[in-house]
Amino acid sequence: MKQVLSVQNMSVTFALHNSEVHAVREMNFDLAEGETLAVVGESGSGKSQAFLAIMGLLARNGRTGGRAMMGDVNLIGMATDQLDRYRGKDIAMIFQDPMTSLNPSLKIKTQLSEVLVKHRGFDKAKATNTAIEMLERVGIPEPAKRANAYPHQLSGGMRQRVMIAMALLCQPKILIADEPTTALDVTVQAQMLDLFKTLTDDFGTSLVLITHDLGVVAGVADRMMVMYGGRAVEKGGVDDLFYDPRHPYTLGLLHSTPHIAKRAARLDPIQGLPPSLEHLPKGCSFNPRCAFAFDRCLIERPPLTDAGSGREKACFYEGPMAYGKVA
């Protein structure tokens, strides 16, 4: 399978007044053509910062190390004007809240056609027509009429469709979606996830889906990467990780997620709180919340190692993990 993005030893740090915070460390992954990779984790796990870094969108005090190779091009450390040749064209990103990503004072068609004029050299009329076609393709009824609307005149679901349309105008090879359905109702969410499937199947777009919702992951992703405290702790195929999780954190997340068809008397959540990145526990970052931690986990940090059949995990524990023990 052709790899469209290869991230190697990437790190993200933020400079504070007297210290620095490591938001992402030693991140490595490949993204294949047409595949959907889910990046799963809780607040502060580094899942969003990693991809903002790839897009060159970090806050000013942020610094990125390592490489993010799109073919022969390394996106990390690239000057803004050079990066703009790829951003929006080959790699695009959409966010949770479409209202903060759209310019409230410009009509939808103005915002969409700008991308085409800039990246593909279309004239204004052709750009507008192409924009309207794309609005139709992402399921917006009466696209010509909606194109004349301002963002506040559209519902949340429509705005998110506009964002997706904008991201797809140049038919990017890679689409990064950061919690794209979290702010939407379930019915609209289902429509969006369906749209993502069409994109990857019919256009061969590679999708990175950043989310905390395992239900969403199960429906659309091929592979997943679970993050905790700024590092990937488990990687592998979606079925493998759901039915046979090898990292206690992955198992804990699964037991924390209510399942609509199975009513358990109690959920079996992970105890305690996610760690602060400024004060990560010694050894394995997850050890204070882990039911399987032993001496070694308190001293030494488990590296991400090959666990066979395309899987990787960062955990010393090798024994069985029975349901109910994680609590």
Binding site: G156, H212, V216, P258, A261
Partner: protein
């Protein structure tokens, strides 16, 4: 012996409208947020209220607590109509009726300590208690929700979302309420913390004999906590039944569509699923469709659905449904999962 009646709360013909300025020279528009709301809540149950954004679920919670005054109808608390009570009289019932909000940090005063926040309802509702008695109650309540005693002098910003929600729960619990309206109490929390708070709520419910109204857009969460579930669409009840009935035999086409749209954390099931793709979005409550308000998105709609508003019918086991075709359309075997 506890002689509280079985039906703690009864809502009769509740209606709530908001008027919206239509511009300088035009007449104000009327938005009907709730209409024809009728149901009862039994002592000790958890009633889930679900629906899409704008369906009126939060407005309903606020009308029950008289934080919003309904236009018409009655809210009978132990037989007494709260809507008719003067503010002073209503205050006497406030200790019984409490609320927990969605955004835990936004609902806590940043300039008060945790101890002051939790004790605050007592100052108004239990003025007879002295300072030491108040403090003793605060500590007892903090323990019940899993907060450590040394946290009493800290400020809200020092807490994470999950901890802040525990403070919000303690504040609701301290007046020893009978009923708590939980308005999206876990929606802003991380998955692992969400599960902790859900477990805490169910433990507290058993320990203190609480009755809960649990408002959420997340059907998996509602399924997990509720005994009965009320489904709202555009301000009207479309279905009310036990959790098992709703999930195993949904009668209303809207309930069915909602259920199949819920993501399932199981990749094999998720791939096999046949989602009853509900087309379009919820219509504007300012100008709702005639007849059945769901008909514009319903795959079972017939011309007569546009003519008559379906009455809320009582069917087997006292469950309620508002669809003139519920008998004809039946329930498919794959109703919930679409598998």
């Amino acid at each position: 012996m506890d002689q509280t009646p079985i039906n703690l709360l009864e809502i009769r013909d509740l209606k709530k409208t908001f008027s919206i300025s239509g511009g300088l020279l035009s007449r104000p528009l009327v938005l009907t947020a709730l209409a024809d709301i009728n149901f009862t809540i039994r002592k000790g149950e958890t009633l889930g209220i679900v629906g899409e954004s704008g369906c009126g679920k939060s407005t309903l919670g606020r009308c029950i607590l008289q934080l919003l005054a309904p236009d018409e109808g009655q809210v009978l608390w132990l037989g007494q109509d709260l809507t008719k009570l003067p503010a002073e009289e209503m205050r006497k019932h406030r200790a019984d009726l409490q609320i927990i909000f969605q955004d835990p940090l936004a609902s806590l005063n940043p300039r008060m300590t945790v101890g002051e926040i939790i004790a605050d309802p007592l100052r108004t509702l239990r003025p007879e208690l002295n300072k030491d008695e108040r403090r003793a109650r605060v500590l007892k309540t903090m323990e019940a929700v899993g907060l450590l005693p040394e946290m009493i002098n800290r400020y809200p910003h020092e807490f994470s979302g999950g901890q802040a929600q525990r403070i919000g729960i303690a504040r609701a619990l301290i007046t020893e309420p009978k009923l708590i309206v939980c308005d999206e109490p876990v929606s802003a929390l991380d998955v692992s913390i969400q599960a902790q708070i859900l477990n805490l709520l169910s433990e507290l419910k058993d320990e203190f004999g609480l009755t809960l109204i649990f408002i959420s857009h997340n059907l998996s969460v509602v399924r997990h906590v509720s005994d009965r579930i009320l489904v709202l669409y555009l301000g009207r009840i479309v279905e009310l039944a036990t959790g098992d009935e709703i999930y195993e035999e949904p009668r209303h086409p809207y309930t069915r569509a909602l259920l199949t749209a819920v993501p399932i954390p199981d990749p094999k099931l998720a791939r096999q699923r046949n989602i009853d793709g509900l087309k379009g979005e919820i219509p504007s409550p300012i100008n709702p469709p005639s007849g059945c308000t769901f008909r514009t998105r319903c795959r079972f709609a017939k011309p007569r659905c546009a003519e008559v508003r379906p009455p809320l019918e009582t069917i087997e086991n006292g469950r309620l449904v508002a669809c003139i075709r519920w008998r004809e359309i039946g329930v498919p075997e794959d109703a919930v999962l679409g598998v």
